[in-house]
Symmetry: C2
Subunit: 405 residues, 2 copies
């Protein structure tokens, strides 16, 4: 009898955890496991705000996939997914194709620009290692160039962050720590630097506890951030954005650096491959399979799970992706062993911590509100926990965050 073939697409939090759980669970004789990923490394999406601001080197936010997979059980294919052919059960890759009996789609999300003109062309993203280090270098180049020019262009020192959600706020926390260093480094007057955060929603960090939100806003304002809340970006142009409240006449904010940190959608491959989706996210069955496809699981940013309590989708996070990965590994194990009753997914929210820089944060952990050093400590615990779940204590020692005091 032919061994079934399990193909996992993506080595993010969800895909990688599925892989390491499966390689433990499944014997070599039971199934073949193939992991496909664009890069030969995994990166910590939740740490990218640090690499983008330049407070943490980008090599610290990634590690080789080969560090955590068991090559005797898992074949690793470094390639980019082009399309999934569900009828023929195969995945078309840029440099080849791969057949599957069971497929796990864990391709991650993509920035959502909501059709706002110019954002794709002129805004930077905190999306992956490539985009983060480009953003960091762009900011640094602006500071390096400022003193070179006879006519000073203050817009080089103007940075706009679009979005006051998790990514926007965490990036602002790092950026406001980095700016004084940059000013010192490039002989730039701190007073000339302008940081603006533009958020269309009526509040910073929608869904977060208001007391914690106040803490975050006043902390960041003290460090120099101006918040424009309830204000939408209408258009990005070279060197500026147009913003406006409601129907009021849009006005211009000049800035050589515009960062778009406001929207995530599912992967474009989802729609391209004919799955029914809302902004690239598939409302998966309780066992995390795609409706109508008994051998296809979708997890992470391209999956959509409803929070029954508020009847709204859970936001895509590393935490939920990893919990989904653990369940999918067990469910695929069951299918391979010809069991028919699969487990259903329910999200166990252990809490959320939003960093405000090196030594400050806000969060709710096990139901308890935290700010400052305690929250910051918990943030590092959370970061190390993801490493532990995927790569064990060895990976924590290698890539963990220990600057906790």
């Amino acid at each position: 009898m032919r061994k079934p073939k399990i193909v996992i697409l993506g080595a993010g939090y969800g895909g990688l955890l599925t892989t390491v759980r499966l390689q433990k669970l499944i014997g070599v004789n039971e199934a073949d496991i193939v992991l496909v990923n664009k890069n030969d490394y995994h990166y910590e999406t939740t740490w990218l705000h640090e690499a983008s601001a330049g407070t943490l080197h980008h090599d610290k936010v990634r590690y080789d996939v080969s560090n955590v997979i068991d090559r005797s059980k898992v074949d690793f294919v470094q390639d980019t997914v082009v399309e999934i052919n569900k009828d023929e059960k195969k995945v078309i890759l840029e440099k080849g194709e791969v057949n599957y009996d069971y497929l796990v789609i864990a391709l991650g999300g993509e920035p959502e620009t909501f059709g706002i003109k110019g954002l794709k062309e002129y805004a930077f993203g905190i999306t992956n290692v490539n985009s983060s280090r480009q953003l960091r270098e762009h900011i640094e180049y602006q500071f390096a160039t400022y003193n070179m020019e006879a006519e000073k262009n203050d817009n080089r020192l103007s940075i706009v962050v679009g979005g006051a959600g998790f990514t926007g706020i965490e990036f602002l926390g790092e950026l406001t720590n980095r700016i004084p260093e940059l000013c010192h480094e490039y002989d730039v007057d701190f007073q000339k630097v302008k940081i603006t955060c533009v958020e269309a929603a009526p509040t910073v960090l929608p869904g977060f506890d208001p007391e914690l939100v106040n803490y975050a806003v006043s902390t960041l304002e003290r460090k120099g951030v101006e918040f424009l809340i309830g204000t939408a970006i209408k258009e990005a142009t070279p060197g500026a954005i147009l913003v406006g409240k409601g129907d009021e006449e849009p006005y211009e904010i000049k800035a050589e650096t515009v960062v778009w940190a406001a929207g995530v959608r599912g992967n474009a491959i989802i729609e391209k491959s004919g799955f029914e989706a809302m902004r690239g996210r598939v409302k998966v069955n309780p066992d995390l399979r795609a409706p109508g496809f008994d051998n296809v699981f979708i997890i992470g940013d391209s999956s959509l799970v409803i929070n029954e309590e508020i009847n709204r989708p859970y936001p895509p996070t590393a935490q939920i992706a990893m919990q989904q990965g653990e369940l999918v590994a067990r469910n695929i194990g069951a299918l391979i062993r010809n069991k028919t009753d699969l487990e259903t997914f329910s999200f166990d929210n252990k809490g959320t911590v939003c960093s405000l820089g090196e030594d400050d944060a806000i969060g709710v952990v096990f139901g308890k509100k935290l700010t400052g050093a305690k929250a910051s400590f918990m943030k590092k615990v959370v970061d190390n926990r993801a490493l532990y779940m995927i790569g064990g204590a060895g990976l924590v020692l290698k890539k963990g965050k220990f600057n906790v005091f």
Copy 2:
């Protein structure tokens, strides 16, 4: 009786050595000493190739002027010279003016682009701290951006250095050490990087011993540099240069980074202030005074001293500027004490070492030819010597180069 006032313009090698020698030589009651400089720091012009390539941080190539001057004897004015009014014996500054009885012009040189079209607009320079860190950040940004683009622009990895003189060759030595690091850092294929050195003269390092030149060329070629000798840059355009040999049809070399390291001329202030000059350099009298002005000394890159042996001007170097500074301090001391016979300058060439990177160099020291580790060691001795002459052992300990093995 009014104390005479000595004004020194520029805190480069020549100006700073003049100042520190004068503050030892002259009593507080004998004269007032004023040092004028654009920045509050001195930078090591001869180390800028390292800061430009990114192999040495730019803060290591500078130190505060206040570290080496005696504030009880010297007034420091941070301002930029606009013009010298020789008739009224005053210097016009951007934010004020200063009168003098004795003036030392040590304003340093400027890049000379020989009217080549586009160089000023599109080429980077290794001229000062601002330009060096901008060049470094520009190169890094090109590498950071390379992987971000769906359509790869290989010209981002193409670097052209115009000029195979001292600055060009030393920069290439550092750059070829830095490139493998950048490739690793930004996941770029080393084979894609292209470094071209274009030199109009018929040889690399004109005036250097041919055996040492061969060593330098073959070392740099082995590290990936392509030399186009006897080839002139005809024009720089955005993203490219046009080059040609003699009368042949110019052809294009695409490169997002073009560095102009080929020419130095005297300071524009010289001509603006009505001194008779050749490319901004004044052929000074043997006592280093400007012809016709008994109270004005000119030293460093804006002065011109003939090497009688070959009847050609000495090239402007830190070594000659410092020797001039020492002499000028003594001559001003003499004038203040009403002596009329001033010392005449003769250059004591202690040797020349051209670095080829961290641990390699070529040079002639005390008449002896050196290559490799020995030459590299001597280069660091030379670098530390300049620190010692200006700031003594303390400055060497603080800013010296001790990575000698």
